[in-house]
Symmetry: C2
DNA sequence: CCAGAGCCTGGTACGGCGTATTAGTGTGTC
DNA sequence: GACACACTAATACGCCGTACCAGGCTCTGG
């Protein structure tokens, strides 16, 4: 008896949620390349990866669950203002959620939007524009304009983030090297990439989104 | 003498271009997951991967060279018409180039635009809008709107493509399964995803781009 | 109360990956 | 004719995703 260790646990404390949660933690800290099934297993204190494969068929499934979880952050209430204001709020929420989790943005390029939160998000866009009077191809065009703009902006940010991260350099060192390559002052480049800077990505995003929204006008005919 | 094989080649017939070309061939055929250094080596008839590492420091470098090569396809002449027409041509060219090479689109999410063709492309956008009279933040917003829309549309297409490809199912079988999940007729889904269909992605892209371009208006002040 | 069936864990193994290393070989230069 | 250099081939290392298998815990039916 005293020679045998206490059983590690009574029974299945390992849910699918635990696994996805641990994966998201690793992804936020170390990015897409930092995630491996063994790494998740270690994080959860379970010795073998086989425990994971019981709840999750494949690593890819785990990633899809992760992305959709992040997309939930984009489903914010939009108030009852002007439809353009509502779209601005909803667009910004998705953009910021994706910027918080660049790995999820990267996965958007390889995983079609079949998850519930992804679908709920586009459904909200359609709903707002429909109540605003958009129909038929005009509705399609408006949804396409807003949604693809949001995705494209997030993807571009994720690319910068990922490139800098992959270089392994401190941000300022990287900015010097890249600035030289692009023939730009490093300070200008840093400002261009710093979210809360007036010349930064968030300001560009909102300005671009506003321009798109102002241009949208409901048409009666399909 | 006769026991020894003829030397494989006189001298270095293996250029960096050859390697990138072979890689692009594999990527177009088998996608991002199909590419490995060993696979490229086999394609080029060289037994060991070390031959590749002589011209290309890392697999990542190879991918970056590949992406920029694809972006060259987007650098089409835009004629001397209205600036909106020019942007429509340039935007569509990039969208179609990226749709032809979904792997490049996926890489856009992890590799910042430091390559020459990427830079040349955005420079063209800036040039067209500048001659049209855009300045300061209005210029930034307009470039952001057009460019991010193009990227987002291509990324969304690439995601569908990649998801279907990963499933390993024939297109029609996949459409049935996905249609059931999304509660949509498989035919409608197929039409939605077929490029040359009137309800397909290309039509949505051009409609959305037109809506954005119509909304753009040069402002004098910054 | 016990046997058997299920869910689930831990360990190990396989084939493939990116890439470092090392040993060798042909070519061009002094 | 020797040496440096440019390059190829082979092999090895440490990771990866995941299949497989041998148990053990817990619940059910008799």
């Amino acid at each position: 008896m005293w020679l045998r260790a206490e059983p590690a646990s009574t029974r299945a404390p390992l849910t699918r949620e635990d696994i996805v949660g641990a994966a998201i933690g690793i992804l936020d800290k170390e990015g897409l390349d930092g995630l491996s099934m063994r790494r998740v297993a270690v994080e959860l204190g379970t010795a073998a990866t086989s425990a994971l494969y019981w709840r999750v068929a494949t690593k890819n499934d785990l990633l899809e669950l992760g992305v959709d979880e992040i997309l939930a952050e984009a489903l914010v209430p939009t108030g009852d203002g002007d439809w353009r204001d509502q779209l601005a709020v909803l667009g910004l929420a998705a953009y910021e959620a994706l910027d918080r989790h660049p790995w999820a943005t990267q996965l958007l390029a390889s995983h079609a939007g079949l998850g519930p939160n992804y679908q709920a998000y586009t459904a909200r866009l359609v709903e707002i524009l429909t109540t605003a009077g958009f129909k038929g191809i005009h509705l399609d065009a408006a949804v396409s304009a807003v949604f693809h703009y949001v995705v494209g902006a997030a993807v571009t940010d994720a690319a910068w983030h990922s490139t800098i991260h992959r270089s392994g350099l401190p941000d300022s060192t990287w900015a010097n090297a890249a600035g030289q390559h692009l023939d730009i002052e490093p300070e200008a480049l840093t400002a261009y990439l710093t979210p809360d800077n007036p010349a930064g990505p968030t300001a560009r995003f909102t300005a671009g989104l506003r321009v798109i929204l102002v241009g949208l006008r409901p048409r009666r005919l399909s």
